[in-house]
Symmetry: C2
Subunit: 182 residues, 2 copies
């Protein structure tokens, strides 16, 4: 559902083709979609049917026609409506926690290795996010308000990975303490 609104959002910046959108999704780490053509092209057809976008076909020699989608007034209204709608809770699934749930059968060393590799992974992700935020790769600069909003989004992701990282470190420490007092 919400990928349609994400597309409308991008189109509210400027007219784009399916191919453009695909690249935008693939590039942005914060939009969690993979940028696969299946979803995007189908979503565009649906948005067109609902009258939320119009399609401008630009024939090209040799290449398939470029279909440039423009957001309509109805589309802008629908986007605004959705943006204002009550937020749904974030959905988090961490298979690693399921692994941990039955890690009692591991040795202390094995458990520490496991936690260490999670820690390392979270560290990598946290760094990546911090770098990307610093470069502001996908931060539009239209208004100061918008810049601030995208910074907040980046910070949300950073804080997520940093929290995981801190948790992993604490878990390792606690695990060592546990071991000493059986």
């Amino acid at each position: 559902m919400s990928i349609q609104y994400a597309i409308l959002g991008f189109l509210s910046w400027k007219p784009l083709s399916g191919y453009d959108l695909k690249k935008l999704f693939a590039a942005s780490t914060v939009m969690h979609w993979s940028g696969n053509s299946n979803q995007i092209y189908r979503a565009l057809v649906e948005l067109h049917q609902q009258g939320l976008v119009t399609c401008e076909v630009q024939p090209q020699q040799g290449l398939p026609a470029r279909k440039e989608y423009h957001i309509t007034a109805a589309g802008q209204a629908a986007l605004r409506q959705w943006v204002m709608s009550a937020p749904e809770p974030p959905l988090l699934r961490n298979t690693f926690l399921v692994q941990l749930a039955w890690a009692d059968q591991l040795t202390a060393a094995e458990l520490d290795t496991l936690l260490a590799s999670y820690e390392a992974e979270m560290d990598v992700h946290a760094r990546m996010m911090r770098e990307q935020a610093a470069r502001q790769l996908d931060t539009p600069q239209r208004t100061p308000r918008e810049r601030y909003l995208w910074q907040m989004i980046n910070e949300n992701w950073i804080s997520f990975y940093e929290t995981q990282l801190a948790w992993a470190r604490a878990a390792r420490q606690a695990s060592i303490q546990e071991e000493k007092q059986p």
Copy 2:
């Protein structure tokens, strides 16, 4: 895939029926599955085919036969193997952040309402998690190690919601500051 291992994990405690597992999944907030019969019964068939569980049918008068699944030695080995395997990164999708990405068109008041309702939601979740952890509803008490592991799992969830909560508060504050200096 990993729901099979979660099932094996529960069965490593004691033999259970599909119905039992369904209730366990539905009750535990930390296992993110909804506890729907489709997945569970299919997973049990597959585990049985793989020889990781055995099935003991207990006929009952009036009621459909209760199929009690027992973990096998192969099942225990497979579980251990999986628990030790390299953790995959947690998967987080937060539609609210997508909403925020195009919240520039909202008034300051509307934006604050939006952030406030996210804040409230995260607060509720954080409280729920903290309560559940305090009551240790789904914390098995077999060994001190296992108790500690499940505490860590609970703390992971709590820290997630608390981080989101803190982020929402900071975002609201920053939003107010932004407004004063345009």
